[in-house]
C-alpha cells in the first residue's frame, strides 16, 4: 500500500466536483487581531455530513464502482467516517453496513440511519473488529478504513487543494491529527503545490500518539485517550505515519481547556459551529505560537458535528430573562 500522489488527489477532486461542496474559506478580523497572523479557515464544517470525511469516503467508493458496482461496504466507525460512508453509499446505490461499537452517540447513529445505512452496535471494540470481519466474509463486502487507505487520503487532500487554489500565498497550514488521513492528504496536496509550506499537526495532550509515533518511527498507539475531541482519540496507522514523517514541520500539543476556549471563541466571535477536533487546530493561533506570528496561516476546520441537544433543551425552558431591546 503506497500513499497517494498529488495526481491522485487531483483525480479525487474531479470525482468530487458537483458532489462534495467546495466549502468557503472564511476570514475574521477578530481572529487575526487575537492571533497576530492572517488566518484563512477552510470550512469543512459546511461540507456534506458536516465534516471533511465525506470527501475520502466518496472517493474510495467511487473508485470501487467501476470494478465492483454492487459490492456492499462495511466500516468500523462511530463518528463522521460512518456518516460519510453512509451518504456516499446512498449516492452510489450501495449497501452500507456501519459497525458502531458502544457507547454510540445517538445523534450519529440517527444520521447514519438517515442515509439508509445499516447500523450494528456491538458491546465493545473487540467485538466490533470481529463483526466487521464476519460481515466482510458473509456479504462479500469491502471494508473502507477511516484513514489508513490511499483513496481515502486522496479524497481528504482535496480540501487543502481547494484552500491553496483560493489563497495562493499561505506560509503555514494547521490541521488536527487523529488517524492522520486528513493531515496526510493535506501534506501531499500542499507540498505538491508548494514545498516551502510549513505544516503542523495539532494533537490533544490527552491523546498523544502521533507525536511519539513520528519521533520513534513506529506506530505508538494511545490505548486510553482522554480528550473532548472525539475525532482525535484514534491512533495513526502505518500508511499515514510514512506520510507524516516525510512532510510535517512539527507538532503543537493542545490542552483540553484550550480546546474549549477555542471553540467558544469561534462560536461567539465568528458565529460558526465547529467541533472540538477543529478547535484543536485553532488553539496554536489563540496562544500566539511564535512560528505563526505575522504569517499567512491556513487552517482546516474539520467539522461541525456537535451535540447541541442540551443547549436547546435549556433554551426551550428559558424564561424571559432580559428586558426588551
Amino acid at each position: 500500500m503506497k500513499p497517494p500522489t498529488l495526481a491522485d488527489i487531483r483525480r479525487a477532486a474531479v470525482l468530487l466536483k458537483g458532489v462534495a461542496h467546495e466549502t468557503p474559506v472564511l476570514t475574521s478580523r477578530q481572529l487575526n487581531e487575537r492571533s497576530g497572523a492572517r488566518v484563512f479557515l477552510k470550512c469543512e464544517n459546511f461540507q456534506r455530513v458536516g465534516a471533511f470525511k465525506f470527501r475520502g469516503a466518496y472517493t474510495a467508493i467511487a473508485n470501487l464502482t467501476r470494478h465492483h458496482p454492487s459490492q456492499p461496504i462495511v466500516v468500523l466507525s462511530s463518528g463522521n467516517h460512518a456518516q460519510g460512508v453512509a451518504l456516499a453509499c446512498q449516492l452510489h446505490g450501495r449497501e452500507a453496513h456501519i459497525v458502531m461499537p458502544e457507547p454510540v452517540n445517538p445523534l450519529k447513529r440517527a444520521a447514519v440511519l438517515g442515509y439508509q445505512g445499516k447500523v450494528y452496535t456491538p458491546a465493545n471494540r473487540d467485538e466490533a473488529d470481529q463483526l466487521v470481519e464476519e460481515l466482510v466474509l458473509k456479504l462479500n463486502g469491502h471494508c473502507i478504513h477511516a484513514f489508513n487507505d490511499p483513496k481515502v487520503i486522496a479524497g481528504q487532500g482535496t480540501a487543502a487543494l481547494e484552500l491553496l487554489h483560493t489563497v495562493k500565498d499561505l506560509d503555514v497550514l494547521l490541521a488536527p491529527i487523529g488517524g492522520g488521513g486528513l493531515l496526510s492528504g493535506t501534506c501531499i496536496a500542499a507540498h505538491g503545490l508548494n514545498p516551502a509550506l510549513d505544516i503542523y499537526a495539532c494533537e490533544p495532550a490527552g491523546a498523544l500518539d502521533a507525536i511519539h509515533s513520528v519521533r520513534e518511527n513506529r506506530v505508538v498507539p494511545q490505548p486510553n485517550p482522554q480528550t473532548i475531541a472525539e475525532g482525535l482519540r484514534t491512533s495513526i496507522g502505518d500508511l499515514t505515519l510514512v506520510v507524516l514523517r516525510k512532510h510535517l514541520t512539527g507538532f503543537f500539543v493542545i490542552e483540553e481547556h484550550e480546546i474549549v476556549e477555542a471553540m467558544q471563541f469561534v462560536f461567539e466571535r465568528l458565529k460558526i459551529i465547529i467541533e472540538p477536533s477543529s478547535a484543536v487546530a485553532l488553539a496554536p493561533l489563540l496562544r500566539r505560537e511564535a512560528a505563526l506570528q505575522g504569517k499567512q496561516v491556513g487552517v482546516i476546520i474539520t467539522g461541525g458535528n456537535v451535540d447541541l441537544t442540551g443547549f436547546f433543551q435549556n433554551l426551550s425552558q428559558a424564561p424571559n430573562q432580559w428586558g426588551p431591546e
Copy 2:
C-alpha cells in the same frame, strides 16, 4: 420626519463601504429540501458587533460628523443597537453613553464596555427614559433612536441592497419585525429595485404589535411581550409604521417552539449561529408556508448574539462520553 429613499440607502452604502462587512449570502441544500423553496440567507450574524444594527448606527453617526464633530451620543438600548452605536462611536472618536435598563445581559454590557462605551444601568424603563433626557441636556448629547430614525433605517436597508445585488431574481423577502427599522429599510431598498417583490414581516406570537398596528393604522404597543426573541420585544414607531403599511405583503406569526426549532435546525444543519430573532424569519420556511413554495426566497439573518455561557460550562465539565472514532 420622512422615511429615507432608495437614494438615501445608496448613500448609506457608500458610507459603509470598507467599514461594515459585505456579509455573505449562504445557501443550503437541506434548507431548500425542507422548505420547498430556494433560500438565500443574508448573514448579518457575520456583521461587525454580530448584528445588522451596526449598519444603521454607523450611518446615523457618520451623517452627524460633518456638522457636529464631537457631540456625544446617547442611546437607550440593552441589545444590539447599544453595541452598534458603541463601536460606531469608537470608530468616529465620539463618546457613547449607553443607557441599559435592568435586567441587563452581562455579555451585552461587556461588549459595549469593550468598545469604550459608557454604560448606565437604571432600575427600569421609566428611569432609563428620564436618564436619557438628562444626559442629552447635561452633555449636549445627540440621541439616536434604535429604529424610528431615517438615517438608521437607511443604514439597515443596505443589507437588502447587497442581497438584491447578489441574487437578482428573488420573489420574496422575509425579515423579523421588532421596532421595524430593519424591515423598513428592507422594504424601501427592495421595492426601489423591484416593486414586484413580496415582503413579509415575521412576528412572534408573544410580541404581536406590528400586525395590529399595521391593520389599525396606529401604533398599538405590546406592553408585556413574552418571547425568547429579545430583539423583537419592542414595538414599532410612527415612522416605521408608515413604511410598513405602504410596502408589506403580509405577516407570518411565529410560535415560540417554532423559534427554537428553527434555531436548532440552523445550528445543527447549517452550522452557523443565529439569534432567536433571526430564527423567527426562518420559521415560515420550515413550516412550508404556501406563499413560499417553489419561490426564490431571501431571508435577512439579523444577528448571532446568543448567550452560550451555559453550553460551554457544561462542555468543560463533560466526561469522555463516547468512544473513539
